[in-house]
Symmetry: C2
Subunit: 455 residues, 2 copies
Amino acid sequence: MSEKTKKNNMDAVNLEELLEKKDNAALRKVLKDQHAADIAEALIRLSAEDKIHIIGLMSSERASEVLVELDGQERYELIHNLDEKKLVQIIGIMDSDDAADVIGELDEEVAKRILRAMPGKELQEVRTLLRHDEETAGGIMALEIVSVNQKNTAAQALKVLRNKAGEVDDVYNIYVVDDAGILKGIASLQDVVLASPRAKLEKIMDREAVVIHTDLDQEEVANLFQKYNLVAAPVVDEKGRLVGRITVDDVLHVVEEEVSEDFTRMAGITDDDISEKSVFKISSVRLPWLLVAFVGEMISAKVLNHFVPVASGTLDNIILATLFIPLIMAMAGNIGIQSSTVIIRGLATGDIHLRDTGRRLIRESSVAFVNGLVIAVLLCGMIAVWMHQPRMGFVLGFALLIVLFVAGLTGTLVPLILKRFHVDPAIATGPFITTSNDVLGLIIYYSIVSSIGGA
Amino acid sequence: MSEKTKKNNMDAVNLEELLEKKDNAALRKVLKDQHAADIAEALIRLSAEDKIHIIGLMSSERASEVLVELDGQERYELIHNLDEKKLVQIIGIMDSDDAADVIGELDEEVAKRILRAMPGKELQEVRTLLRHDEETAGGIMALEIVSVNQKNTAAQALKVLRNKAGEVDDVYNIYVVDDAGILKGIASLQDVVLASPRAKLEKIMDREAVVIHTDLDQEEVANLFQKYNLVAAPVVDEKGRLVGRITVDDVLHVVEEEVSEDFTRMAGITDDDISEKSVFKISSVRLPWLLVAFVGEMISAKVLNHFVPVASGTLDNIILATLFIPLIMAMAGNIGIQSSTVIIRGLATGDIHLRDTGRRLIRESSVAFVNGLVIAVLLCGMIAVWMHQPRMGFVLGFALLIVLFVAGLTGTLVPLILKRFHVDPAIATGPFITTSNDVLGLIIYYSIVSSIGGA
């Protein structure tokens, strides 16, 4: 056995080489032997056409494993290019929670057709899961569980486990219920195996184990898993009936999402920002934050104007420009932090690679340009109306646009360059970006103002 | 069985009530019946004396479970108040990885005495673990594992499991090795139980499972767990010999730590910042970031001075003050973000509660005052030496100190107030704090400059 981290890169290369050679036999072998997560990672780099080709070479079971490993946006694109008959097969094999996730992502019309084509039992399960809020325990639980009546013995429990072997993977616990399906306790597989075969489950089980209600928010679910070091936990409905289980792999993603969400919110971006591709969509999500700051910094300008009166004349154009220093700095700071947070987050999760540098630069500077333009037009209008100086409004708006465009570039480039030289992008980015944006921004701003604003 | 989230609060209250009543019998019962994580949580609120009393009422085994659940600073204080003989007993019962963690936290002299008092086998294990870097796979692995030779059968594997039942908890996998101890594969407990008792392990095991090297950084370990949805993974040395295992509960904390670390670094604080109690220690950790920004913003002032020439006279004192707008804003922004990040992080992890508001305000404003004073003295010196205006240096330095003190207060109060009104502190804090600090800061700054700087 070799270490996984080293193997991954080799896998990825092979997939592309084999595609070029059209060696379907070799491809089939790789697709069968490699871990689904590795295949999913390799898939991302392929063209839409090659992706469909690759999925076609897999068994439905394999395809379902690989689809589960893909991220939202990637999966969405792939699914909508797949033949619907094949899709029904693939989704039918998935665990209920994964099936519900995938169907929840489909366009409504497609989802309806898929649900109509699914066999009765699976349909029932997916419908049950779709009823719960996506971010609650009910939304992340799986319905596949091993449950046994409390009056049964350890030997009988192992028999149930054997019968369910095809349906339920990763069994760590056996859930013990009464005749009405009410959860009474939990017995770890280890305890059941080590108990006397004739011991009753009610004697083996732990009655004090952690139980999760379907309505519990996923962040609180994650907190319970962390606090009590859980690997899996049963989920019950309002009457205490066992309805599903949550496993720790679902929670790992929740922990990362929730911590990340806190910070990306502070920076005025969203987690989807990393995978989202439309410049206008990203711009519109980030803009409200910039507008809040814009309004605030216009108040700053008003405050400054109270202390620093502006007359007219060349030097006073420079003084007029100083009123908007807080605005320039705050905007450049926000745009720089938005870009750098997206990059740092993406580098940490592995969603952004150094080889994407060019693509990221184009995307982030486009977003900075679009939002810069909105803010610049607003500033130009405010100065024209408020101060009756339309010409200076145009000059300052133009200067602001250039400063913000540069701030977007710096925010993107600095973390990528630090990563390139093996410096932790997070540790040096904060003060570095803010401060260098301030200095650079002021030089650009005043150079433009003094050269074209002086006439 | 009831839901854990509701039960917790009741437990905490009971512990304090029973202590007051000196009802040791009832306390012993609670301490035996409740989950170690709940006891640890209740313990935090007690006085040092009560903590020792409570630990004294537990069995050594229980005490070891509770100690493992406590956070760094809390554990450090408790351990150093405990009787060393009792401590040796408690540490002796812990899993090797936990024991190594606790000993790693002790003062060197105490650690040496504890190690000297430990029995041979445990001493050996802890020594092995302490050799690895704390943030690598070797540093977070446990040495307690169930390993079986590949030539043995499923029935023999279950026998080994039975023999190790007292030593190893939470067995999900049986690790299969050859005669030299080289890891050959992994068999899940489920697969071993379901296999024919006479089946050889080499037929049951998975040869392609994920294997982790002792030197792998813990962040990469966490990435592997997430990518491959692992519950446990074997750790091997450079020769491929099985040396330990990592379980997912260790990794959950790593995921949260690493994501959090990325962001707290961007804000110029550390994760320890939340639990650290010494104002001077916190100040000194945060200061370097502020100094980086100070140097950068002095360059900003130089740039501004190039475009906005300063003569002497009353109005020109106001113009002189504008040169330092970038400095004022950047410093207030950084100090506000440092405070608010600590509070938001602490609220999310549950380390900070609304009832701590008073204590946090005092702490954060003290830190802002200490660092504000350092920066203010620097500014005063720079203006006196660079611009030969010692009086204005004093005025601007004083104004800066007040602005920074207020920024620390705002950064602390805003997230706490938002939380109080059930608004997510993260979503509204970013732009709110920065912008309000800018407006407030400018008002304070110019009010002080124009009232005492004009003479």
